[in-house]
Amino acid sequence: MIPGAFAYHRPTSVKDAVGLLAQFGDDGRALAGGHSLIPMMKLRLATPANLVDLAGIAELKGVRAEGDEVVVGAMTTQHDLIASDLLSEKIPILRETSEQIADPQVRYLGTLGGNVANGDPGNDMPAVMVCLNATYQVTGDKGERRIPARQFYQGAYFTALEPGEVLTAVRIPVPAAGHGYAYEKLKRKVGDYATAAAAVVLALNGGKVASCSIGLTNVGETPLWAQEAATILLGSTLDAATVKRAVAAAEAITAPASDARGPALYRTKMAGVMLTRALARAKSRTRG
């Protein structure tokens, strides 16, 4: 229940935050919404000697359109994501996902940046970002760089983020108008991590799949981009036989942990079921 001791820092600029993190190295951690890190600190699974609170950095907040992308500040909370009219209109899968993360209190403080940068296989947003082909804007003491979400996740709690780097924004290409989307999440109860979840974004042309992208949550050490499954669906009408083949391809890339949510085999099968249901729902939402 009681965390270990640490020194607390609250910079007001990204530059200062990065400077502090570089200074502390392994002895420092960034604090975003805190709802992943602080529970770990309370169980003493994480004992950083320094916390760098990003809450005071104005430039990390906000949602704005920039060309054919929407740029979401890393410190944007789940609550703000849900409330954003821009996102509801342009990238509605985000809201649907956000509403299935944790509970109202956690959503008031939990941030998009925290959810995507942690490398926790249980977090929901990484698979959605992988599905949407988002890019993570990252700043370190060597300057800024951009990392595609699809290249960001390397293992459980292991990402492409270098020590001292801070995720500052998520850049998401806006899907085509009239696209179909769904985030289908099986969970033991509301607020739980996914037993398995599937993110689907697709577009139809004349009733046939013109584009499709699939992300899978919590059925591997990282979020999974089910590329082969999506390719199988291209040009199809999402008929049962083709969907079945796509599901098999998606199941084949899963390697879930066996835990209280179920044995690995079950969770793989559930990834398949979630994908099937997400495809159906995404199809029903397509326009034009």
Partner: protein, 806 residues
Amino acid sequence: MNAQTPTSAERAEKLEGMGCRRKRVEDIRFVQGKGNYVDDLKLPGMLYGDFNRSPHAHARIKKIDTTKAAAVPGVVAVITAETLKTVNLAWMPTLAGDTQMVLADGKVLFQNQEVAFVIAEDRYVAADAADLVEVEYEPLPVNVDPLKAMTADAPMIREDLKDKTDGAHGKRKHYNHIFSWQSGDKAATDAAFDKAEVKIKEMIVYPRVHPCPLETCQCVASFDKIKGELTLWGTFQAPHVIRTVGSLISKIPEHKIHVIAPDIGGGFGNKVGAYPGYICSIVASIVTGRPVKWTEDRIENLSTTAFARDFYMETEIAATRDGKVTGLRCYTIADHGAFDACANATKWPAGLFSIISGSYDFPAAHVLVDGVYTNKAPGGVAYRCSFRVTEAAYAIERAMDIMAQKLGMDPAEFRMKNLIRREQFPYTSAFGWQYDSGDYHTAMNKALESVDYKKLREEQKAKREAFRRGETRDLMGIGVAFFTEIVGAGPSRACDILGIAMFDSAEIRIHPTGSGICRLGTKSQGQGHETTYAQIIATELGLPADNIMVEEGNTDTAPYGLGTYGSRSTPVSGAATAMACRKIKAKAQMIAAYMLEVHDDDLEWDVDRFRVKGNPERFKTMTELAWAAYHEVPPGMEPGLEAINYYDPPNFTYPFGAYICVVDVDVDTGQTKVRRFYALDDCGTRINPMIIEGQIHGGLTEAFGIAMGQEIHYDEQGNVTTASFMDYFLPTAVETPHWETDWTTTPSPHHPIGAKGVGESPNVGGVPCFSNAVNDAFAFLGSTHIQMPHDHWRTWTAAEKLGLHG
């Protein structure tokens, strides 16, 4: 009488006595955040205690080094078993006749067992220091499987009992064996099975779960060196028992121990017994001369305090071909963990498990229970269970469904054929229990009609056909449960806790101005006693409930009682309240007669007054009589208006109910949606219907959690894998179904107000109802028994085994 004089009915309504939906008195402070829970308490100079706990499930302790811990600034002391041995408190007696380590003595027997107790100036320092206690362990082989506990090569858990073949409850047949207990007529039962036309046998497991009240266990111990007195605040469902046990083991005279149970944030049986945290806090306070507070974390609570169930029940029913039951047999292995710390009445090591014949007229029955030790947390009886009644009800209700299936009969029809009939009451079961009253067929019919059972079965038939045609992937299940439970422990001839009979008490004092105070030996943890006992008094004495203060939990002022658990408050202290009221009323009647210058027998009672028979204009209200009691009593009579009653119940009470549940199982994910849950309860006289409904809602929600996902799970190395809210399934408002409540009223003939108690009924009947519903969904495919919890993956696995995933 004129139009403006209130009628009897109007006067009765104003009293807010029994039967009305009186708003709760305790709410006024709770909704303002002014409850008084143990952790709210701050005393000058108070210290905080925290445990260092074992990561191993079974290991020898080679060495404990407390130097680093003791050196942390702010740490006042570090206690180990060696410290406790100097005051003979390294081990303490349990309520089940066993002994239990307070701090690990030479070895640890379950994961998270207490090894050292750190006492510091604040809780943050205590936590830091607890982490710095260094312990050298030599791991030992682990056994967490009760079915393997009595094999020849099973690891020996209790070396301290190595050569003891005599246990607290008879002979021990193996070093991991605790007791054998049996009840019923074995010969007659075996004979019934030998000639049975139809038999079923099933291993029915009630997994280990935990009551998990929202407030964990905690205490503040304050030993006054100068007076030699100990004051102990704590989360105690049975404060007097804690005082007596505390005195026996600490040797502090009982009159110098003050135990106070303030507001408690839920108990459900988790807060009945004494825990190492309490003992260590007391010792720490004695050693340091300062008050010591101990509060446990949730993981500590779930992994080390009184768990519930863990019963492996091989259950058999014998019946005739046309569906009359002829015999019931059950052999159970009971996993008690490392110490038998069950809070049972002394003579009943398996509690009241022999209620297992339930609501059915079994001519012959026999049960045998073997308790065993394993490397798990100690305990066994808890969680709204009324001493193993939940286990018994689960076994019989599942077994009845399995038999109905074998006979090709509808589960409700099969039950109707075997329910004890109204004319048979008072009914003596094959185990010797005398059920006080019941009208089961009326209740069952009411339930079946209310849900339109026939139509549900027709719908199910149509849906099954649709499933077979591939038109739906949902399976509809209908669960039926008709439970009888045994509560209100209990008659002194049968029930004692460590030698103290299980009576209970009420002491009522009426003040001159007509209000009063009632103190009882029970202790509410949310059941609304401050509201409901006052309602009994309002009806009995004709004083407004609002004028009666109800107090529990302070052992100096409350009369001795055995506390609140097992739905015993209404049956026992509720009876004591009524009896004490009647003594007061009798005295008041004499005073009234004296004042009205008539004979006692010339008076009749009318709601709130004694009036002269045939001359109702002449009366004295109880309020007037209260005033009179202090100055105008008949010559020779003592002034004052008070009474105390210690009630030794002549029998248990037997609430019952008919529950029906409709579920839709998504075969492809294993998710079960509860479409409808109808609960009809008969608890005899209903004191406050609003509170009864609340108890049913709450108990059904706990039953839902148990049936659909709760378990305290151990892996093979003895690691507890479900010890936090990440994994221990507590439903939120989203998962929790809507509850429909209904009732019949069959008063208990032996209870002064006919009330039976109701708090645990929903957990007793709810779990089998949910489990029967899920099982029923698959029954038409040949499935006989799917083990609970019915969480998604297990339900899916059952569907997979039936070949439903193509």
